[in-house]
Symmetry: C2
Subunit: 443 residues, 2 copies
């Protein structure tokens, strides 16, 4: 059983066009031109809140890939923190998770931005820490080549330390605001950080009061050794992606097992597994929806997505033949571990490139579950109970229809089984996740 | 007459506690503990919009000064872009100006953040470009000493070029969003920037469509030679601060005169002058309000503010004696030009340190105008008509009461004289300022 007592946690993972690569073309998808429009995001966040989700999760990448630009709405990305600040105005309880890179930002700015979001949302902010590993990102930030992964993670580790430290520079009761005597703040409760490390020298204090949650919740998505270690040391929630139960369980035990060496308990970190639900009221309806999506997948988009997954231009190979002999993945980082499994499956089953993209391009090898609400809840319950996850990050194949389906059909089934809350019990994201409020190191 | 036909422009310049250093203690000021609370900013922005202001202007500094920390609510600053994104949800027309430093950010991130704000607000975003010159800022960003001003401005100049370039990387009609044929964007209308300069190497394209305004409006506050030149080359609005008409006119002519060498017309840059209004329905009421504020000014706060203005610890000198002989200002940058005038006045009139802080600590040597709505409008009209400004950046001495007074009493008087709009005529900040929408360099 997941560590979170008997309730699982739910987030929705936002990619502008939905998670099936052709999802934006689906009849139940919003107008694709709406990706710049706040109303689109507002509707999604309010739907997730209606479903009592723990969090609304905004992905981010700092550049545009070349392979499938013509076909991919996820090349449009708002800076996550701004729509999240706006969403704080039109939602009441749901957590607001923003992805921000440690490689192309400064810790003082990031600490202040999330402190601001936490104040604006009354304690619902969370930072998804990423290190940015794509060439289309580094080339926008003065880098001629990709930064070394080891160095990226070293910087990320120190970056998170500095940010957490800055969040403590104001004690909770530092703000006095005594108009009568003219004393605004208690100087003895505002501290220098005086951080001096290999990557950062940051004096502080931050110029904003301590966030309502003490620290906004730290999310991470570590898959590599360095990533898992960073998660075990610093993260309070992890987003991960596995398509088999055994892999997911192994990862879960691995990361949870690392916590002790940082003096942390197993339930101080929640692991949320990516899940693409294709929901029908009947099996036939679910089949039809999947078929509709697959029929919208253009071959050139399928091949382009496969090229992205494999880090290779796949259009150079014949479509109806298997992968070339001794084919290797071009990219060694992050997501490629998931895609390695795709390649192994292709080789084992002798799939052609066409068969391969038909099976994986839509879901990018995330766990995809198709069926009735009961069938989807069955899978979620089994994975949760077997200790593969503390909850799920829902990746609707198209938006808003795919999220509507999940909230209206699957959530009630989970609630009926006692697996998911029927009402928010607290007001902050820490409350929803059952995470303690961090003590102040200076306090 | 100002260049903007016969109408002046108005912005409100936001500092959390108001612009008189003791303003937060005034009975008509909000609870000082509200500085972290969105409702405070919402009320202010909605008031300014009720007054048909062109823009709501969020100041920023990336650190806390030490001299008057106990007494100064402006040590609490939300990251400007987040409350502005939230304010876009609760306002309809008013422009949203956010201050962001070119010294401690990356152009790709800044371009995307303002593009996002421009999309969220349907064309109301503006970037106030600052270079950050304070020691309490540089020490939060890995710097052992203040960066060289020359270098800071060189970086700023290139930074703004890159940002404007990135805003052009999507042509206005690059997004096709053709669900039927599965074509999301027109690849031939999305461009690499391929910028290579001394400070930045940025490939692009940006991962968000062209902002509704083409480019969000560029604000600047250049006072030094480098600053004025940067403004003439890149800015479309300038915020400046002078307390005498002659100085303001000289500055106005100086900056406007520099535009031609960049092929720009005089009305392509609007100059807004800082103005602290102390408004009474009668002269007696205005006198009383000023007296109330002055009585709330604690001597240690006055001396601390003077120390800030002079870049020197002024508490080491006897309070009731004049400035020591051969006294010089400690800080040579930005605001100190305004404060140089304070020192010269002190020497000319033989003012003691106490008299000096009583006169200047409250208003930090900004133009302060006290009186009835007619008297204040008289001053504004005279300065506007004599070509000292295209409009004013209003610095209410306390908030929200000081802004309420201006909007309810002075704005109607300006409208009666035909000096200010009675209704918004356009929807974007460019519309309000009468600025053209920039052509796309790639289009």
């Amino acid at each position: 059983m997941g560590e979170s007592r008997n309730r699982l946690h739910l987030a929705v993972f936002l990619l502008a066009g939905g998670h099936h690569v052709a999802g934006w073309r689906h009849p139940d998808a919003a107008a694709a031109s709406g990706v710049h429009d706040f109303h689109y995001y507002k509707r999604l966040a309010q739907t997730a809140e209606r479903g009592k989700f723990d969090a609304f999760f905004f992905a981010d990448v700092l550049g545009i890939g070349q392979s499938d630009r013509r076909y991919d709405p996820s090349n449009v990305r708002l800076d996550p923190l701004l729509p999240l600040a706006a969403l704080a105005m039109v939602t009441e309880r749901i957590g607001l998770v923003g992805t921000v890179s440690t490689s192309y930002n400064e810790p003082f700015n990031v600490a202040r931005r999330f402190a601001t979001l936490d104040h604006l949302s009354n304690g619902r902010a969370s930072w998804n820490v990423v290190t940015s590993f794509k060439a289309e990102e580094s080339s926008n930030f003065n880098q001629k080549s990709l930064p070394d992964p080891k160095l990226r993670y070293e910087r990320a580790r120190e970056f998170v330390q500095v940010v957490k430290g800055l969040w403590d520079t104001w004690e909770d009761d530092a703000l006095i605001a005594d108009k009568e005597n003219g004393v605004f703040s208690d100087d003895s409760k505002i501290h220098f950080l005086n951080h001096e490390g290999p990557h950062f020298s940051v004096r502080g204090p931050l110029n904003i009061g301590r966030p309502p949650q003490g620290h906004p919740v730290i999310f991470q998505a570590g898959v590599s050794e360095d990533g898992k270690e960073l998660a075990a040391e610093t993260a309070e929630a992890v987003f991960t992606a596995w398509s088999t139960l055994d892999q997911a369980k192994a990862y879960y035990d691995d990361v949870k097992g690392r916590l002790a060496r940082y003096g942390r308990k197993r339930d101080e970190l929640k692991i949320l597994l990516g899940l693409i639900p294709i929901v029908g009221r009947t099996e036939e309806e679910a089949d039809r929806k999947e078929r509709e999506l697959q029929e919208l997948l253009l071959p050139e988009v399928g091949v382009a997505k496969l090229s992205y997954m494999f880090g290779h231009d796949m259009s150079q190979y014949p479509m109806d033949e298997p992968l070339p002999k001794s084919f290797t993945l071009g990219d060694k980082d992050g997501a490629s571990r998931r895609f390695q499994v795709v390649k192994e499956t292709a080789e084992r089953e002798g799939l052609t490139i066409r068969q391969l993209y038909e099976r994986y391009a839509g879901n990018r090898a995330h766990l995809q579950v198709k069926g009735t609400p009961e069938q989807i809840a069955d899978v979620m319950e089994r994975w949760f109970v077997s200790g593969a996850a503390d909850g799920f990050n829902i990746l609707p194949p198209y938006l808003p229809g795919g999220l509507d389906d999940f909230v209206d059909l699957v959530v009630p089934e989970l609630q009926k089984r006692g697996l998911f809350r029927t009402e928010y019990e607290g007001t902050t994201l820490r409350d929803h996740f059952g995470l303690p409020r961090p003590a102040n190191r200076f306090g």
